[in-house]
């Protein structure tokens, strides 16, 4: 079973499909994310592909502060993604609210609503910084095999820590 998990993890790292979501950004970070997806920067060499639905995505790339109107929608999109899922906050506003912090219509950074795995600061964050952040997120999955996301951590624990020998055997049998 461990080999199967290794293969799944390898496949996951080699093909992180992303979903881009603007939660209230000024559009600058969105342009930079789209620029990072162009052949000039060629993120497909890492297996990164932009997907049109959260149900096909592994990584949610969020830009902008979370407005009070969008927070329920952001939560709903996050809930639609299959486990394990990762969130990348792109730009100063996504990291902590930025210049919009304290506005009557703004809740704050992405991590006020959903757990975030990687923060990419910058106003706007450039394509190179975005690629660096995504690659570092993938590298962290590879090295530790225990991603920094709370959800993913819990999953590892149930498979490694809590599982007894008997259960492992029964899993291996078929």
């Amino acid at each position: 079973m461990k080999i199967v998990r290794k293969i799944i993890n390898w496949a996951r790292i080699k093909s992180p499909w992303i979903l881009h979501f603007n939660s209230g950004a000024c559009n600058a970070c969105d342009i930079e994310i789209v620029a990072a997806l162009t052949p000039l920067y060629d993120v497909e060499r890492f297996g990164v592909q932009l997907k049109g639905t959260p149900r096909h995505a592994d990584v949610l790339v969020c830009s902008g502060p979370v407005t009070k109107q969008i927070q329920d929608r952001l939560k709903r999109i996050y809930d639609q993604m299959p486990e394990p899922k990762f969130v990348v906050a792109v730009g100063a506003c996504a990291c902590g609210g930025g210049v919009f912090k304290g506005c009557y219509n703004v809740r704050g950074g992405i991590d006020e609503v959903i757990p975030v795995s990687a923060y990419i600061p910058g106003c706007p964050a450039g394509p190179k910084a975005i690629i660096d952040g995504v690659v570092k997120l993938l590298a962290s999955l590879e090295e530790t095999k225990k991603p920094s996301v709370p959800d993913a951590k819990r999953q590892d624990k149930t498979e490694d820590g809590a599982g007894t020998d008997k259960e492992t055997n029964s899993g291996d049998a078929p």
Binding site: K68, Q69, Y104
Partner: protein, 148 residues
């Protein structure tokens, strides 16, 4: 006589009380101020007779005890007119202009939500642009509003 001066003279001929407040600020820029109870007729005259058939936007202002509303109108020739009216905060009621400009509904809803004005004749609808769970008596663009 210039086109701006024509518009001014025509309007003053119709509404004498506008003589002081109707000004040609500079070429192609006009401004006028009218009380709330005479607003509708002046507005209708400017839109239908003087052909100000474009509404750019409506601006709301917190002026202490009053709320100010500026209707930015435009017409061909690049001429714009800022028509201002006022309503006291204790009775912040104005009439809707959606009969003339249906697209003004979103501007009026913004004034209702952000300044707490009452727009008479505006059709019922959901809150815009604030969230549905926003407290009923808080208007974030008023100067005395504080975030809790």
């Amino acid at each position: 006589m210039s086109c701006e001066e024509d518009i001014r003279q025509n309007t003053i001929r119709q509404f004498g009380f506008l003589e002081d407040s109707f000004k040609v600020v500079r070429p192609r820029r006009l401004s006028a101020e009218v009380t709330r109870d005479r607003f509708s007729e002046v507005f209708d005259f400017l839109v239908h007779q003087e052909k100000f058939n474009i509404l750019c936007t409506i601006t709301g202002i917190d002026e202490g005890s009053d709320l100010g509303f500026i209707y930015h109108l435009a017409r061909e020739g690049g001429i714009t007119l800022n028509l201002k009216t006022r309503a006291p905060k204790s009775d912040p009621a104005i009439r809707t202009i959606t009969a003339v400009f249906p697209g003004a509904e979103i501007y009026e809803r913004e004034i209702v939500d952000l300044f707490g004005a009452q727009v008479q004749g505006l059709r019922k609808g959901s809150r815009y642009p604030l969230t549905d769970d926003w407290p009923a008596d808080e208007y974030p663009l008023r100067k005395d509003w504080k975030d809790k």
